[in-house]
């Protein structure tokens, strides 16, 4: 960070601007970058999902707007922007407007917690993992609010399901998180990544001691994101569109945006916990191999690290889309049963195993 700050001050000095401006504006930069990257990411994530599903179902997917349909989502976004915002009769107006914002804002805040490289670790917080879980559960509240405020029975049923689901699936998630914290001896996400370094390529990743945990977290993430096969809150064939049935225009876009942004962040979080985050899978960085250990090589390493975490994240996202294209939807009682009867004991077992692993590793 210090090095980047130095570069920023140098850049300002070139235009004869005082250092004070740099001191004030520098902490804001990450958030601006985050906002821009996030929106761009979501736009292409939606396109990616449509393309991947099209391949799975032997279609072509969007291919009319721009080359390979690249601007399809932008066109959709423009459509949503110019659409009328309809508030249904009998809706709680304030809460109805608040809900999409409440879904969207935590997602923007949470983004800074993920260490994208050793230097781009915007909010390096000592209990980062815990904070992540805390903020990540706020959008559930938004769904409850949306369902309640819409004055629509389908919405209400959808949001009811969503809350029940989120509560059930957060428990095994947290227990697996505890196992990761035991392995890393830290709750700081940056430290968790560093704890996964090892002399052999990718052997230190936590997916190996805690593979069961990885599976559990992946399933829980599917449930938290309301994605297939856990997409009960918005089960189209049952509840029309679930909690966002009554939403239109930009309010709907906020829900939509939050959903996909959350998917990206959740996958980045899993990659950080289990797949070595920004670490290279080779045990060395390609840029230092090619450009040497000099100034250029060092700077490029940061970007290479960003590349690695994005690659891992997109792999996980692809897996989620794969699951969506393969499985039918669960029933609500089966969903609960699965969380409490299978995932929770399994996550405790995982915790026990990880503790023993850690104990014997350190006893040697």
């Amino acid at each position: 960070m210090n090095y980047l700050y130095y570069l920023y001050i140098q850049f300002l000095a070139k235009y004869h601007l005082p250092e004070a401006i740099g001191m004030i504006t520098f902490p804001l930069l990450p958030f601006i970058i985050v906002a821009v990257v996030l929106i761009v990411m979501v736009i292409f994530l939606v396109l990616l999902e449509r393309k991947v599903l099209a391949i799975f179902t032997q279609r072509k997917g969007p291919n009319r707007v721009g080359p390979w349909g690249l601007f399809q989502t932008i066109a959709d976004a423009i459509k949503l922007l110019i659409k009328e915002n309809i508030t249904p009769v009998g809706a709680e107006k304030f809460m109805f407007t608040l809900a999409p914002l409440l879904a969207f804002i935590p997602v923007m805040a949470i983004w800074g917690l993920i260490p994208f490289s050793a230097e781009f670790d915007f909010i390096s917080y000592s209990v980062g993992a815990l904070l992540f879980m805390t903020i990540a559960s706020i959008p559930i509240l938004a769904i409850l609010l949306a369902g309640y405020a819409s004055n629509n029975k389908y919405s209400l049923l959808g949001s009811m399901r969503s809350v029940a689901q989120a509560i059930s699936y957060e428990l095994p998630f947290v227990f697996v998180l505890v196992a990761v914290v035991v392995l890393a001896s830290s709750m700081n996400l940056g430290q968790i990544v560093l704890a996964q370094t090892s002399v052999y390529p990718f052997c230190g990743w936590f997916i190996f001691p805690s593979f069961l945990g990885f599976l559990i977290v992946f399933i829980c993430a599917l449930a938290e994101l309301n994605r297939c096969p856990f997409d009960l809150p918005e089960a189209e064939s049952e509840l029309v569109s679930g909690y966002n049935t009554e939403y239109s225009g930009m309010r709907f876009a906020f829900f939509f945006l939050a959903e996909y942004a959350m998917m990206f962040i959740m996958c980045a979080f899993i990659a950080t916990l289990f797949l070595g985050g920004y670490l290279s899978p080779f045990g060395f960085y390609l840029s230092t191999k090619i450009f040497g250990n000099g100034h250029l090589g060092q700077i490029l390493v940061y970007f290479e690290q960003v590349f690695w975490i994005f690659l891992k994240t997109f792999f996980l996202i692809f897996c989620m889309m794969w699951v969506r294209a393969t499985l039918p939807r669960l029933k609500s009682n089966q969903l609960m049963g699965f969380a409490w009867k299978v995932l929770l004991p399994a996550s405790l077992l995982n915790l026990l195993f990880v503790c023993l692993y850690k104990y014997f590793l350190f006893a040697k």
């Binding site: 599903l53 799975f56 179902t57 032997q58 279609r59 029975k153 389908y154 049923l157 399901r161 297939c228 096969p229 997409d231 009960l232 089960a235 189209e236 064939s237 049952e238 029309v240 969506r324 294209a325 393969t326 499985l327 039918p328 939807r329 669960l330 029933k331 609500s332 009682n333 089966q334």
Partner: protein, 369 residues
């Protein structure tokens, strides 16, 4: 009822993604449990039976396809059969083979569409596209045969409208050969999928007794263990010359209904290939020689039965000797499947609605007519 004020009344439909048309279900929900269900029909009523009384036989014939837009051939066949019986029109063997061939292909297309939409109801989007891919081949074949993709209007009294195009039978044979592996693919992915099995096994059980009480017919009845297949028991056209099995299952739950229909697709293929083989070696005159618009049917009444994809299709025809029917009455399978719905849904979970309703293969134009 002590807790009646806690029940939530919810309207499913008439516009809803999974009511397969315009059925309206008034449900009373207790949390996620369905306490009562009242189906309300009539949103697609077109007066098919009354229309017949003001049209000549030939004028009414195209409308018959619209009774069920997914399996028009069966209804046309039932109507033609009734008219031919009353007017004592001889139908030669080639025509009968063509009718059976097209009907079985239509059954296959109908079952494929059902499979896709049923899986869509259960939340799996992918099978729909694969089923439509195969259905598309059938529809293209129909298009080259009849000029239409859904409303064929191909049968006439005493024959069919056009002869079979030259390479049509080869194309059909090619399609039939490609299908079994695809059906096996669907079975591999769906039949053993634990989520699918847990959602359909033991759900929406129609017992033998209640199936007979409610006059359920077709695959739904055979899934309950009653072996009633009009193709076998009362063979019409040339079904008595063909070799095929009628498929039954025991439990009568959603899973069995699925299994029966998938097996029936294989039976369809078997019948189609037999018909294709026969038609390749025997060629007779198929285009009707009767002056259709002038057709007058002698007074009398007749009921013709056809085993349609959604159950027994009966056409009651009463003629008073003029060129218009005196009365036409349709008996369709879906109507009875909707009747049993409240009984099946009671005290089931709301998500089971789709697993039960989807498996019954109800189509609304057939219910309302």
């Amino acid at each position: 009822m002590p807790n009646s004020n806690q029940l939530m009344k919810i309207n499913i439909g008439p516009q809803h993604p999974s009511t397969h048309g315009v059925l309206r279900l008034v449900l009373e929900l207790d949390g996620e449990f369905i306490r009562s269900c009242e189906p309300i029909i009539g949103y697609l009523h077109r007066g098919m039976e009354k229309m017949a009384e003001n049209r000549t036989y030939l004028q009414y014939l195209p409308t018959v396809d619209r009774v069920d837009y997914l399996s028009g051939f069966f209804y046309a066949s039932a109507f033609c059969d009734a008219v031919e019986y009353l007017a004592q029109i001889e139908v030669n063997k080639s025509v009968k083979y063509i009718r059976v061939l097209t009907m079985e292909m239509n059954r296959l297309a109908s079952h494929l569409l059902w499979l896709g939409t049923f899986m869509l109801d259960l939340g799996a989007t992918t099978p729909l596209f694969y089923c439509f891919r195969d259905r598309e081949v059938i529809l293209s074949l129909f298009e080259s045969l009849t000029g239409q993709r859904l409303m064929y209007n191909y049968y006439t009294f005493g024959g069919v409208k056009h002869a079979i195009p030259s390479d049509w039978l080869d194309k059909t044979a090619e399609f039939v050969n490609s299908m079994p592996s695809k059906i096996q693919d669907y079975e591999n992915i769906i039949t053993k999928n634990p989520i699918f099995v847990s959602r359909t096994k033991g759900i929406g059980v129609i017992t033998k007794k209640s199936a007979l009480q409610y006059s359920i017919t077709g695959p739904n009845l055979r899934a309950s263990g009653v072996n009633l297949d009009y193709r076998k028991q009362k063979p019409y056209l040339i079904y008595n010359e063909l070799e095929f099995d009628s498929i039954t299952a025991e439990n009568g739950d959603s899973f069995d209904r699925y299994k029966v229909r998938v097996e029936e697709m294989r039976v369809c293929l078997k019948i189609i290939s037999q018909c294709v083989d026969w038609l390749k070696s025997n060629q007779g005159e198929v285009v009707s020689a009767i002056k259709q618009p002038l057709l007058k049917v002698p007074a009398g009444e007749y009921i013709s039965n056809v085993e349609a994809p959604r159950g027994l299709c009966s056409c009651y025809l009463k003629s008073d000797g003029t060129n218009m029917p005196y009365r036409v009455k349709w008996r369709t399978g879906s109507y009875y499947a909707v009747q049993i719905l409240p009984k099946l849904l009671e005290d089931n979970l709301y998500p089971d609605l789709m697993a039960i309703f989807g498996s019954l293969d109800v189509i609304l134009p057939e219910v309302d007519r």
